[in-house]
Subunit: 346 residues, 4 copies
């Protein structure tokens, strides 16, 4: 690997983007934070000052800058298409936070542009693939020791969401989409049909909001996935799953930090662990590993992680999922042809 | 409670019935084993000799005997209707192993006969209601501490089933039926619709057998249940569930015996617990508690546990489930009117 | 086993004794509660009325009564010697709550009296031997799969103890004595030396009370035991242990009831199980199994469970432990010769 | 933090040192591997070629090199004193793997030299302090929520050790020394007395080797620590502990990787997690965090982690422990006066 640091610019420095800028500055080997861009000029300036980097007023100028080798896109989803396509035009590797884009058509445009370019520059930030537990389960399944994966059960809970401007579809688009990618990753197959069921909602859900939701995925190889997404669970951020194979199952996410405590509680004594408050705690290590692996791959001239195709496929399943949420019926997921660039090799 | 022992006769002394006879003889307070009946005369005689009781050649004679106060029916399902109706005619309490009868109509005939009698004599052997974990979860839900139950996830695995004469429907009728009752018990509601999905089967399933199966129940109050039933899991007998409520969830069945071991295995060192081989181990305590509670109730002149109505409702859901297994579509569960005798009081 | 119920009298109907009387009346097969005795005549009368049995004013009259086949002694420790010796004189089996007697000499007198009689009538109520977890660990060790037991770590915590009239020695005599018996049971060896260490006490301990205590046992075969006893832990009743063998270790007691919950607590979300409030909850099943096994053995004319020798040995270790608590030094445990009646056969 | 990378040289590129060189090259932000030194010239050359760095024939030349800002010492313990003292002379920060030196006197010489220098340059590689579980327990204790720490139970097991040239003292010096530091870290106190007990050894221990060992530490504040060290456990690398405080206890190390599996084993079905094979797996994250934190501190001109004093104190306890292993009696730990440079501020 070259001794020269990879110069990475960050577009969007809200919660996620500033976290990435911090990570690139202090916790990633072989990189240098080479600039930030954000519509909120004050926010960008404050972060740049703190992390000793420069501010680009125009995100596309950041992409074009000769001082930037690679880009992290952490801006709102509706500007992703333009920014990622700009990266492709400039031949720069880009780590784009999910969603890749806002709908199937735009995602497919990114896929087509990259396929036309003939080399992979886009990585989509489905960080769970880098979480040690997800990776360990995938490796255990790949070992063949347990036979073929048959059924996957996913649980995805948040403590709560703001009830202002929150709509049921957002649970599919922003939360369930992680289960879509995780299911594709663990099965190594596409989701071909999705059904979103609407149990009677929790009293903690906003008016008219369907929460929790239960979604069923049919996989292209015949496997099946059950998903519970519950964004007002009150407890915390719980991401768990059980992968049921022909000889044994693999469970993850219950005891993720290894520390158990006995406690005096209002209900009497209890023993057990803590539930993380949010995704930045639960997936802190996944984000670190993702960014390091991405930077290493870019420096080595290769690519790693979820591709533009993965971003497109996840969006397509989400779209079908939102339709199913509305109808309560199974909805097939129509996928475009998979360009040769994305031949499955994982 | 009266000082006089309750004299209990057992019809059917196969695996389950001989286990009950043993339990009545040695582990149940206030009862006396008062006779057995079985088409296999040798088997009945051997057991009777060992447990120092008498053999009745005709099961209906056992029911009618003045030396028998109450009856345990552990015969094959297709003779249950006749035997249970005989108990009703003689005014004798009966603990009938599941299924109550073979189809909705016959189950309803038992319900009607008992309703006409005007007092509850029939208890159906859904022993999970007496399992300390199921009971603890129900009590915790009833405490109100966690809010309303929203979603229930059930897992039900067997090590393996004989592949001769085994058909996919038997998974619904004989295994999933336990989840039907458990769901009705934990929600305190009826199952109004059932969908049975067929993932690509395990290579350990017999030719043409759909195993595992994933079933979805819609409950009358709007709750939702996901069920995985997998009868050739190779691992052992695993019955687990998670009850997801408005404020917290309850998980049961992972570490049922409390002992963890570190071990040297072919794959390296592991830590963890054992998975029981079969239901008699997993639910040993549930069976003991069930039979003791039933005997206590009968001696006290009351009734306890799953009623004939519960047996009928479970059968009705199974029937709909088998139809759904065939069609792959949701099937509504038509229930007869609930007689006043079975007014919900649990 | 005879069809005739074993008639059992109970001496002492405080917390433990009334629990046993209840158990004998309602949860034990093949027995009948045949009378109670207690210095508190009102308490005895009330219980007798509720359980439909008779009251004996004099406990020794209960022992002598022709209507009593066997006796449970749940009176205070200082009257045990007299009552147990009376049982021996009348040739009646006795289940005596621990301690067998108050000191080594008196315990040895019971041993000698029974040895002179030439048959075992005394069982001491070290109920942990009947706890499924202790029994499972012993069975796993006996299987040879893990090699020889090398080291045992015991933890024994209570929520709190009354601080009035409480002395540090009581932790050794009343709490640690259970670890003494458990260690003898799991190793199948005697304790030959005991050291009781005094960490700086918890602020919840009474003035001058050493709590927690850490005790070390040297076993006759060279094994070693560490014990933590902490009677003001504030959390609840925690009895756990890890048995470390040549190939793998066995842990018990962490997740004894199998139900885990996620909860919303003052500190944020947590997951885990409950800690029982006291021994009657934690060891409910052990007590049931103990009394049933004892009654079965007595009816069959044999004996089972901890013997008078076990009671004497535990007392001898406690005596040495109290000396060590005072001195802070290792104290050897002098044991009398073991009569042939107690030849180890377990 | 400066934009200039910290140039780090590594002395000793055996198992540990080459792991550190890899880490500095690929997984640590803000650093550059600036050279290696090792008596095995071929091994050094091969690693340098792979990691694109230079070889210094003389470790002291590496220390003196103007191209090296800071040093990692991973050479055998008996050359640590000379190398660390050289770092101090050149005013270079050094991360020295444990042990700091081979005996109390030499460790004290390092302490004195650094104290004379008046600033902290030495960090000793007790990596457990950076393990997320140890750090979380310390933070929980520091929160005051659980009251004061009273008793600590440590377990430290290895799968096996080579039996050639292995002596019982090495268990104290090389293994138990980690528990010494962990106890000092969690209590924030010194170990004032140590007792090493010798249970009958496992059949897997080499001839004459005392394994397992049980050690007791008395802490300066009155706390107490029990330690089990067992280096031929056959199972794997298990590092667990329970910190018992006035209101609740904290357990760590049982389920460190969060993934549970059900398995088909020779003994039947089991569920549970894996035990890591060795320390590089168990403490992979701790090493990464340690080196990153150290590099960050050095770049910021400060210091972090276990100091030379901590290294000296651990050695002093080990020395006392080896004496106790020989005598079987408690041995007091004589500590020199603590220089002001090491005033406790943690």
């Amino acid at each position: 690997m070259s001794d020269t640091a990879l110069r990475v610019g960050v577009i969007g420095v809200g919660l996620m983007g500033s976290d990435h800028a911090e990570r690139l500055s202090h916790r990633t080997a072989g990189v240098r934070l080479a600039g930030v861009a954000d519509p909120d000029a004050d926010r960008a300036a404050a972060l740049a000052a703190r992390l000793d980097t420069t501010v680009h007023e125009d995100p596309l100028a950041l992409v074009a800058s000769p001082d930037v080798d690679a880009v992290v896109v952490a801006s709102p989803g509706f500007v992703h298409e333009e920014q990622v396509l700009a990266c492709l035009r400039h031949g720069k590797a880009v780590l784009c936070e999910k969603p890749l884009t806002m709908d199937d058509e735009s995602a497919l445009r990114v896929v087509s542009a990259e396929a036309a370019l003939g080399r992979r520059l886009v990585t989509v930030g489905f960080m769970r693939r880098f979480d040690p537990e997800y990776a360990a389960v995938r490796a255990a399944l790949a070992s063949g020791r347990h036979g073929r994966l048959l059924v996957l059960h996913n649980t995805h809970r948040n403590r709560s969401v703001p009830n202002v401007d929150f709509r049921s579809e957002m649970i599919v688009r922003d939360s369930l989409v992680h289960e879509v990618d995780a299911s594709r990753f663990l099965f190594g197959e596409e989701v071909v049909e999705v059904t979103v069921l609407s149990p009677a909602p929790s009293g903690h859900a906003g008016p008219g909001v369907v929460d929790p939701q239960v979604a069923i995925f049919a996989m292209s190889g015949g496997g099946l996935v059950t998903n519970e997404v519950f964004v007002n669970s009150q407890v915390g951020y719980e991401v768990r799953f059980e992968a049921v194979a022909e000889r044994g199952s693999l469970l993850a996410g219950l005891a993720s930090n290894g520390v158990l405590a006995t406690r005096v509680t209002a209900d009497g004594g209890t023993w057990g662990g803590g539930v993380p408050d949010d995704y930045r705690i639960r997936f802190a290590r996944a984000y670190d590993l993702e960014v390091q692996a991405w930077a290493d791959a870019v420096r080595a001239g290769t690519s790693i992680g979820p591709s533009a195709w993965d971003g497109y496929a996840a969006t397509a399943v989400s779209t079908a999922g939102m339709a199913s949420l509305a109808s309560g019926r199974p909805v097939a997921v129509p996928l475009a042809d998979r360009p040769a660039l994305y031949a499955r090799d994982d």
